[in-house]
Symmetry: C2
Subunit: 210 residues, 2 copies
């Protein structure tokens, strides 16, 4: 199995955490998003979406879109489970996944911010306002779903933590004040004490330039 | 079961299609996004995310986030299936879901466009450029995943169609030229000949103001 990754990509970071939780061995290849390697003809031949992550699971099978990859990992390697058993609880965890993966991250990722300051001539200050607005809107709602546990849902790591931690990492990088979100911060601190999260973090990646 | 919906919400539209495919009876309630009903204290007490859809499946269970709701519907009412059987094929369909639900829709929905023209003072023309940019970026990649069939994946409706059709409806409303996407257009035309899609369309909803 080979993961095409970029150290700072939140979506790739999610997949790295899930692979670690499942103790799956994998190779890596790096696509430097900052240098535009995602838009080269070579990479578009691999993934026409021009994004990372891609998980190559066989010579003919390449999976794209981080949430689809997370679901594939969960179905293919069921233990330890990253989704609860009951239907309603699974929906709650997947709702948290959607809150991060649909309602926060796409608005704040690199290509979106570049389009704002580039084609739309938005100022650097307004770009940061935009960034923080979507983080604060999303985290305010997310915080209300938490109950002060060590993880987002119950006492086990779920896909909700897998998605939340990279988003918090990103928010900290953009100097977002996390004081209004004590439950989110508690989950973040706890997860960042665990090897499966630490080893997946951007600083620990071979392509990290910090 | 009760669906909290808004006729023009693409995310609610997805859920309406899935409920129709599964032939599930449901009641409806309407949250007028244009009039800001999603931000009232009453609605935030129901859904702190301030969004639709919400699917109330019992007096104590309310599901949020359309993709999480779609997965719940699929798990709870497995027939007719909206995901293929094999793991790799499921990942391909879910990847298409992610392409729409993460990479296009969040950038182009009502609250995002309002923030652009409001707080960021982006012109109406640049708002439309932004809209079309993300549609064209997303549809260009999506088109390459299609092979010219009646549906997005194989000869059955899947969650990919459930997500694509509302996005195409939305693109048409914003006068996006679909000529570069003949496979997407073919899927759209075919789906829009089927009752499960027609009955879910915005025009057919009791709250429609066109």
């Amino acid at each position: 199995m080979k993961l095409y990754s970029y150290f700072r990509s939140s979506a790739a970071y999610r997949v790295r955490i899930a692979l670690n939780v499942k103790a799956i061995d994998y190779d890596t290849a790096f696509i430097n998003l900052k240098q535009g390697e995602q838009s080269t003809p070579e990479w578009l031949a691999v993934n026409p979406e021009g994004l990372v992550p891609v998980l190559e699971v066989s010579t003919t099978e390449k999976l794209t879109q981080s949430v689809a990859i997370l679901e594939w990992i969960e179905e293919t390697y069921p233990q330890p489970a990253l989704l609860p058993d009951s239907g309603h609880e699974r929906a709650q965890v997947r709702s948290m996944v959607g809150q991060i993966a649909c309602d926060i991250h796409p608005l704040n990722n690199l290509r979106t911010l570049k389009y704002l300051t580039g084609d739309l001539h938005v100022t650097e200050e307004n770009k940061l306002n935009w960034y923080r607005h979507w983080i604060n809107t999303g985290f305010t709602a997310f915080e209300k779903k938490l109950v002060g546990g060590l993880f987002c849902f119950g006492e086990q790591i779920t896909l909700a933590d897998v998605c939340l931690i990279p988003q918090v990492y990103n928010a900290i990088r953009f100097n977002v004040d996390l004081t209004p979100y004590p439950f989110i911060e508690k989950v973040y601190q706890h997860c960042m004490s665990l090897a499966v999260f630490i080893d997946a973090s951007p600083e620990q990646q071979p392509d990290a330039i910090l």
